[in-house]
C-alpha cells in the first residue's frame, strides 16, 4: 500500500502535508534495521523467533508463580508450630547429589541442542536420553527425600513451615516430571519425524524450559536448603 519511486522532495512535501504537526516522529538516523527479528519497522519476525519469544514470556510467568511459593516459604519459614525446624530436615549430602544431577542434566541438554544445530539425530537422542536419565535421578532422589521425611512423621500437614517447604520443592519436582514427559514426547518426535521446522522450534522451547528449571532449583537450593541448614 506504499507509493514508491517518488523523488525525496515530493515525499517530504507529502509528509508535511499529511503530518503538519510532526506527529509521526520519524527516526533521525539512517541505520538499516535488522530484518526478521520483529523489532522496529521491519515487519513480522520469523516463526522461530516468535515461538522462542512467546515461550520466554511463558517462562517469565512460570517464574512469577515460583516466586509466590518462594514468598510463602519466606513468610512461613519460622512457622514451625512446635514441629521440626528447617535445620532438622535438611540432608545436605542428598541435596548435593540431587543438585549435581540436575546441573549435569542441563549440560547434557545443552549438548543435545548443539547436536540439533549440527542436525545430528543420533547425538541429539543420546544427549536427550542422558538428560532424561539425570532428571529421573533427581526426581527419584526428591521422592526418596519426601518419603524419608514422611516416614518420620514430617508431613506438610504438620506445620506452616513444612507446608511451604513441600509446596515449593514439590512444585519444582512436578515441573521436572512434566519436563520429563515432554522430553519423552520430543524424543519420539525426533525419532519418527526427524528435524522438521516445528520440531526444532519445540526443541528450542524444551531447552529453555529445562534450563529455567535449573535456575529455579539454584534458588531453592540456596534459599531452602543452604540457608535452612544454617539456621
Amino acid at each position: 500500500m506504499t507509493d514508491t519511486g517518488l523523488p525525496a522532495s515530493v515525499a517530504a512535501l507529502r509528509r508535511i502535508r499529511e503530518d503538519p504537526h510532526r506527529l509521526g516522529h520519524r527516526p533521525h538516523d539512517g541505520r538499516e534495521p535488522v530484518q526478521g527479528i520483529g523489532m522496529g519497522t521491519t515487519g513480522p519476525a520469523h516463526k522461530r523467533i516468535i515461538v522462542g519469544y512467546g515461550f520466554w514470556i511463558f517462562l517469565l510467568s512460570d517464574i512469577v508463580m515460583f516466586s509466590c511459593f518462594f514468598a510463602a516459604f519466606a513468610v512461613q519459614r519460622n512457622a514451625t508450630a512446635g514441629g521440626p525446624t528447617m535445620a532438622e530436615i535438611v540432608d545436605l549430602p542428598r541435596v548435593a547429589i540431587e543438585t549435581t544431577a540436575l546441573l549435569l542434566s542441563s549440560y547434557t541438554c545443552m549438548l543435545s541442542f548443539a547436536a540439533t544445530n549440527a542436525r545430528n539425530v543420533l547425538w541429539t537422542q543420546v544427549f536427550l536420553f542422558l538428560t532424561g536419565l539425570l532428571g529421573l535421578v533427581f526426581v527419584l532422589l526428591e521422592a526418596w527425600e519426601f518419603y524419608d521425611l514422611a516416614s518420620r512423621g514430617i508431613t506438610p500437614q504438620r506445620s506452616g513451615m513444612l507446608t511451604a517447604f513441600f509446596g515449593l520443592v514439590g512444585l519444582h519436582g512436578v515441573h521436572v516430571t512434566a519436563g520429563g514427559l515432554w522430553l519423552a514426547t520430543m524424543m519420539a518426535q525426533v525419532l519418527v519425524k526427524g528435524f522438521r521446522r516445528h520440531i526444532i522450534h519445540r526443541l528450542i522451547c524444551f531447552n529453555l524450559f529445562w534450563h529455567a528449571l535449573d535456575i529455579v532449583w539454584i534458588g531453592i537450593f540456596t534459599v531452602v536448603y543452604l540457608i535452612g541448614s544454617l539456621a
Partner: protein, 670 residues
C-alpha cells in the same frame, strides 16, 4: 464411585435456583434442538468451534462475555431487591443463598463477563490494527478461549449441582478453608477460576508476542494505535499477575484437599498471606480490565472528533506508568490489616499517584474533542458518559486511598459504590462503546443507533440512580454484603437504588432490542465501505467483515494513524495506490484441539470438585493424549492461492473506488 456426588446435590428444596436452572436447561436444549434440526452442526464445527481465526475467537469471547454479563446482572437484581425487601424483614433470599449470589455476582462479572469481553476485543482488534493476519499462536488462542468457556460452564453448573462459594468473590481464608466452608462451593470457585486463569494467561502471552514481534512493516512502536499499546500493557499485566492467582488458588486448594497449612488459622498457617497474594493479582486485574477500556476510548474520541488523538506520546507514557504502578498498590485493599503507618503511607501515596496517569489521559481525551467536529454517535455517547462517570469514580478512589479515611469506609457500601463506579463507568461503558464501534467490522452491518442511544441513556441514568445512594449508605455506616438490614432510616436510599436497577433493566432491554432489530434490518444497515465511521487505523482499510486472511498484501505503514494517511492520499490523488502483485498466503489450519482440551478440563474440574478421583485421572490422561496427537500432525498451514487473494482484494478495491467517486461528487476533491 461418584465421590461426594449424589442426587441430593441438586437443590430440590430451593425453588429459585431450581427453577432458574430448569429454565436455563430448557433454553440450552432448545438451542441444541434448533441447531440440530436446521443442520447447523457442520457449519458451527468447521467455522467456529475448531476455528483458529482470531476474529472468530474474538467474537466468541464477546458472546460468552455478554451472556455472562446477563447472568451476573440477574444476580445483581436479586441482591438489590433482597436489600430493599429485607429492612427489618427476612426478605426472600435465605442467608446461605444470598451469600452465594453476591459471590457468584463478583466472580462472574469480573472473570467471566468483563474478562472475556476485554480479551475478545483485544483478540479481534489487535491483529487488524497491527496489519497482521493472525495472532502469534493461533491454535493456543483457541485453547485459551475454550478453557475460559468451559470454566464459565463450570461456574454455572454450580447453580444446579451443588452450590457456589459463600465467601465473596475472593475466597478469604480462614472462612474458605474446609473447617468453615466444608461444601463444594469454594471448590467450584477454585477449579473454575484456575481453568479460566490458564486460558487468560495463554491469551496474554499470545497478545504480548503478537504486539512485540509481529507488527507489519513500518509499524514502529510509536505508530501503533493506542488500543494496541493498552492491549500490550494489559497483557503484560496478565503475564505478571495471573501466575500469582494460579499460585494462590493452588495453595488454597492444597489446604482444602490435603489439609496443608498455607492459610489456616492453626499450625502456622497465615490467612493474611492469602489476602496479600490474592490482591497482588487482584489489583493489577483491575488494570488488566481498564487499560483496554482506555484504549477503546482512545480510538473512539479521535474517530468521532475527526482529529488525531491529542498527546499520543503522553498517552503511551501514561499507559505504561499505570501498568507499572498498578503492581505496587495492592495493599490499599486492606489498610486495616495493621501493617503500620509506614507501609500504609507508601501504598496510600502510590495509589493516589495512579490518578496522575489517569488524569493525563482524561485531559488528552477532552483536548482531542476540543476544536474537533464531534459526531454524537452511540460510541461517542458512551465515551462522554465515561468521562463524567469515571472522574467521580476516580475521585472517590483517591478518597479511599487515604488510609485514615479508608479506615472509616473500609468494606462499606461506599467502597461498593466506588468500584462499581470505576468498573461500570470505565470497563462496561467501554465494552458497549466498543461493541457498537467494531460491530460493523465483525458482521458487516451497523447497529441501529436509535435503540443504542436509548440503551446509553438508560444505563447512564440507571447507573447513577443505583449507585449514588450506595455512597450515601456507605457514609452512613452500612457495610457491604448485608443479607438483612436493621436500620429503617436506610430504607429510602435502598428503595432509590432498587429503582435504579429497574432503569438499568430498561437499558439491557434496549440493548437487546437494538441487536435484534439491527439483525432484522441488516440489509438496510449494511456496511459496504468497510469504513463506516471514517476511521483512522488499519482495521478500517479491510472490508467488513474482513476476509479470514485480513490483508491481501501486508500493509506498509508510513506514519501514525496508518489508514488515515492512506485515505487522505487516495482522496487527494483521486485513486487508490497501484494494484499490488498478489502472492499466495500461508494460513494456520483449523484444529479441534482447543475444544477437546477444554472439554477434558471441564471433566477434570468437575471430577476434582466432587472427589471423583478416577475420572479426574482419566480426564488428565485424555487431555495429554489429545495434545500429543495434535503435536503429531504434519501440516500446520495451508496455502491460499494468489487468485483467491486477488479476487477478495479486487472486490475491496472496487468498493473503495466507488467511495472515492462518491466523495468527489460531493466536492471532496482538491
Amino acid at each position: 464411585m461418584f465421590g461426594k456426588l449424589s442426587l441430593s446435590a441438586i437443590p430440590w428444596s430451593q425453588p429459585i435456583p431450581l427453577i432458574t436452572s430448569f429454565i436455563i436447561i430448557l433454553i440450552l436444549l432448545g438451542v441444541l434442538v434448533l441447531v440440530t434440526v436446521k443442520g447447523w452442526w457442520p457449519y458451527l464445527w468447521r467455522e467456529w468451534i475448531t476455528s483458529v481465526d482470531h476474529k472468530r475467537i474474538g467474537v466468541m469471547y464477546c458472546l460468552l462475555g455478554v451472556v455472562m454479563l446477563i447472568r451476573g446482572f440477574a444476580d445483581a437484581i436479586m441482591m438489590r431487591s433482597q436489600q430493599a425487601l429485607a429492612i427489618d424483614a427476612p426478605g426472600y433470599l435465605p442467608p446461605e443463598h444470598y451469600n452465594q449470589v453476591f459471590s457468584a455476582h463478583g466472580t462472574i462479572m469480573i472473570l467471566f463477563g468483563a474478562m472475556p469481553l476485554v480479551l475478545g476485543l483485544m483478540n479481534f482488534v489487535v491483529p487488524l490494527q497491527l496489519g497482521v493476519r493472525d495472532v502469534a499462536f493461533p491454535t493456543f488462542n483457541s485453547v485459551g478461549f475454550w478453557l475460559t468457556a468451559s470454566a464459565a460452564l463450570l461456574v454455572n453448573v454450580s447453580l444446579f449441582v451443588g452450590e457456589f462459594a459463600r465467601t465473596g468473590w475472593l475466597p478469604y481464608p480462614p472462612l474458605s478453608e474446609t473447617t468453615y466452608s466444608p461444601g463444594v462451593g469454594v471448590d467450584y470457585y477454585l477449579w473454575a477460576v484456575q481453568i479460566s486463569g490458564i486460558g487468560t494467561l495463554i491469551t496474554g502471552i499470545n497478545i504480548v508476542t503478537t504486539v512485540l514481534k509481529m507488527r507489519c512493516h513500518g509499524m514502529s512502536y510509536l505508530r501503533m494505535p493506542i488500543f494496541c499499546w493498552t492491549a500490550l500493557a494489559s497483557c503484560l499485566l496478565i503475564v505478571a499477575a495471573f501466575p500469582i492467582l494460579t499460585a494462590t488458588l493452588a495453595m488454597l486448594t492444597l489446604d482444602r484437599y490435603l489439609g496443608w497449612h498455607y492459610f489456616t488459622n492453626t499450625a502456622g498457617g497465615n490467612p493474611m498471606m492469602f489476602v496479600n497474594l490474592v490482591w497482588a493479582w487482584g489489583h493489577p486485574e483491575v488494570y488488566i480490565l481498564v487499560l483496554p477500556a482506555f484504549g477503546v476510548f482512545s480510538e473512539i474520541f479521535p474517530t468521532f472528533s475527526g482529529k488525531p488523538l491529542f498527546g499520543y506520546r503522553s498517552m503511551v507514557v501514561a499507559t505504561l506508568f499505570i501498568c507499572i504502578v498498578s503492581m505496587m498498590v495492592w495493599l490499599h485493599h486492606f489498610f486495616t490489616m495493621g501493617a503500620g503507618a509506614a507501609v500504609n503511607t507508601f501504598f496510600g501515596i502510590s495509589s493516589s499517584i495512579i490518578a496522575v496517569g489517569t488524569g493525563v489521559k482524561i485531559y488528552n481525551w477532552i483536548f482531542t474533542m476540543y476544536g474537533g467536529r464531534v459526531r454524537f454517535e452511540v460510541p461517542m455517547l458512551w465515551s462522554m458518559g465515561f468521562i463524567f462517570t469515571f472522574i467521580i469514580g476516580g475521585l472517590t478512589g483517591v478518597l479511599l486511598a487515604v488510609p485514615p479515611a479508608d479506615f472509616l469506609t473500609h468494606n462499606s457500601m461506599f467502597l461498593v459504590a466506588h468500584f462499581h463506579n470505576v468498573i461500570i463507568g470505565a470497563v462496561v461503558f467501554a465494552i458497549f462503546a466498543a461493541l457498537e464501534y467494531w460491530f460493523p467490522k465483525a458482521f458487516g452491518f451497523r447497529l441501529d443507533g436509535r435503540w443504542g442511544t436509548a440503551a446509553f441513556w438508560f444505563a447512564f441514568v440507571g447507573f447513577w440512580v443505583t449507585f449514588a445512594p450506595l455512597y450515601m449508605l456507605g457514609l452512613g455506616g452500612m457495610t457491604r454484603r448485608l443479607q438483612h438490614i436493621n436500620f429503617p432510616e436506610w430504607a429510602p436510599w435502598l428503595y432509590v437504588s432498587a429503582a435504579g436497577v429497574v432503569i438499568l433493566i430498561l437499558g439491557v432491554i434496549s440493548q437487546v432490542l437494538e441487536l435484534v432489530l439491527s439483525i432484522r434490518n441488516r440489509d438496510r444497515l449494511r456496511d459496504i465501505t468497510g469504513d463506516p465511521w471514517d476511521g483512522r487505523s488499519l482495521e478500517w482499510s479491510t472490508p467488513s467483515p474482513p476476509p479470514f486472511f485480513n490483508f491481501a498484501v501486508m500493509p506498509n505503514v508510513e506514519g501514525e494513524e496508518a489508514y488515515w494517511g492512506i485515505k487522505l492520499r487516495a482522496i487527494e490523488t483521486q485513486q487508490l495506490s497501484p494494484e499490488p502483485n498478489y502472492q499466495p498466503i500461508e494460513m494456520p489450519l483449523d484444529s479441534p484441539v482447543g475444544f477437546y482440551t477444554a472439554f477434558f478440563s471441564f471433566v477434570f474440574g468437575f471430577a476434582m470438585i466432587w472427589y471423583i478421583w478416577w475420572l479426574a485421572i482419566a480426564a488428565l490422561v485424555a487431555a495429554f493424549a489429545g495434545f500429543v496427537v495434535f503435536a503429531w500432525r504434519d501440516e500446520h498451514e495451508f496455502e491460499v492461492s494468489a487468485d483467491e487473494v486477488a479476487r477478495a482484494d479486487r472486490a475491496r478495491r472496487e468498493a473503495r473506488t466507488a467511495i472515492l467517486a462518491r466523495l468527489s461528487q460531493q466536492g471532496a476533491a482538491p
